[in-house]
Symmetry: C2
Subunit: 236 residues, 2 copies
């Protein structure tokens, strides 16, 4: 039996719900492809409109502007990921194992082994993941964060962090930095993935050949090390 992940988005994220029409769905699906291909700054609504054989003005009926589209896409990804975390950790008793699952989800690793479809709702999850790596921080690194935050645009990200923080506390009751630990885990996973790909000298991971310890996913090993060394450390 197949369940579709119903990702219901906050109404502030769009002008008209893109999931409510064929055109809206194309804007989102093709928006993901285009942004993954040419990057956020190079993308324009005009180019996207051409790609899906519609007009700029039609896209503006769904999203106020390009930045809001980005915010929508990353919010969607965070909601999807939170759902996966929920699903993957729900019936586990070992909280260490829960954290292990989270690490893999963050890197989009072993999804098939975890029975995660990478085509939820027809969304191209790997493409979205690469957008999140390259562009997600531009969603909040703006001069208008505060207003955007007031409109709850970052709620999915906060919810994901909260959920991870909860599991951290389950693993290590009383840990005083659960939320910062969760947010820095997520951010580090993404920055390091970006560096590994584009500025490898900032990392110890060679995307090509073999690596320091000769394991097949050194970034995962690194994140695991960082996370558990901080959680397993002595008193506070």
């Amino acid at each position: 039996m197949e369940y579709t992940v119903v990702v219901r988005m906050n109404g502030k994220l769009f002008l008209r719900d893109p999931e409510s029409s064929e055109l809206g769905r194309r804007i989102v699906r093709q928006g993901i492809q285009l942004m993954a291909e040419i990057g956020f700054e190079e993308m324009t609504f005009r180019k996207l409109a051409e790609r899906i054989n519609t007009k700029e003005a039609s896209i503006y009926r769904y999203f106020e502007n390009k930045h809001r589209l980005l915010v929508y896409l990353v919010a969607w990804y965070w909601q999807w990921l939170e759902y996966q975390v929920l699903f993957q950790t729900n019936n586990l008793t070992d909280s260490r194992e829960k954290l292990e699952r989270i690490l893999k989800l963050l890197l989009l690793k072993d999804l098939s082994a975890l029975n995660v479809s990478t085509e939820a709702d027809d969304m191209d999850i790997p493409a979205l993941h690469s957008i999140v790596i390259q562009e997600a921080s531009k969603a909040y690194l703006t001069h208008h964060v505060t207003e955007d935050n007031r409109e709850q645009l970052f709620k999915p990200y906060k919810d994901l962090c909260s959920r991870i923080a909860g599991i951290i506390l389950e693993y290590r009751p009383g840990y005083p930095y659960a939320r910062s630990r969760a947010s820095s885990l997520i951010e580090t996973a993404h920055y390091q993935a970006f560096f590994m790909q584009h500025l490898p000298s900032l990392t110890d991971f060679d995307p090509e050949s073999q690596n320091p310890v000769g394991d097949k996913d050194p970034l995962l090993t690194f994140l695991r090390h960082l996370l558990f060394s901080s959680l397993d450390t002595a008193r506070f």
Copy 2:
């Protein structure tokens, strides 16, 4: 006796060396102020030109575009910071103490106690620091990272990471993730500072009232905890 930090910049970072003329210096100094005030995306060369009573075209003689100005500013900051790290750690024998100094420098804390002038070369270091927190990742999170990297635009950042990685290895010989540890330390310091200020629920630090453990700089405490727990952990 006063030493001026001579920050000699890579020629690829500009069209004409802004330090070679009064106008160039004003572009950089006032560029820092303006970008810190209104943010990278809101800033335009026209606004900057008006502010310093010159013309858009004159600024274009120094910098190819706004993005290059940003890259220049953050490169300057990394070079300044690397110099500070060098200077602050040079005559220390205890490598733990070196790392402690680095943590404080990253957060721009206790500079007066460390005898660091915040007006090196008339540059407004705190303003630059806030630009680095909000905007620095936009310098490399682009579709043209690879070309920019080929032109050595990120060398100052890499050099800083290398230096910190070196000190990490001094503290913990054989640590297999020195470079990733260094880059993630820097990044974590900055986005946690950003979150603390703008999205505090992603952190455990309340910029206003008291905090989890009641210390006066919980972010510093958190970074110290993260860094040393990973370095002091068992075998690899």
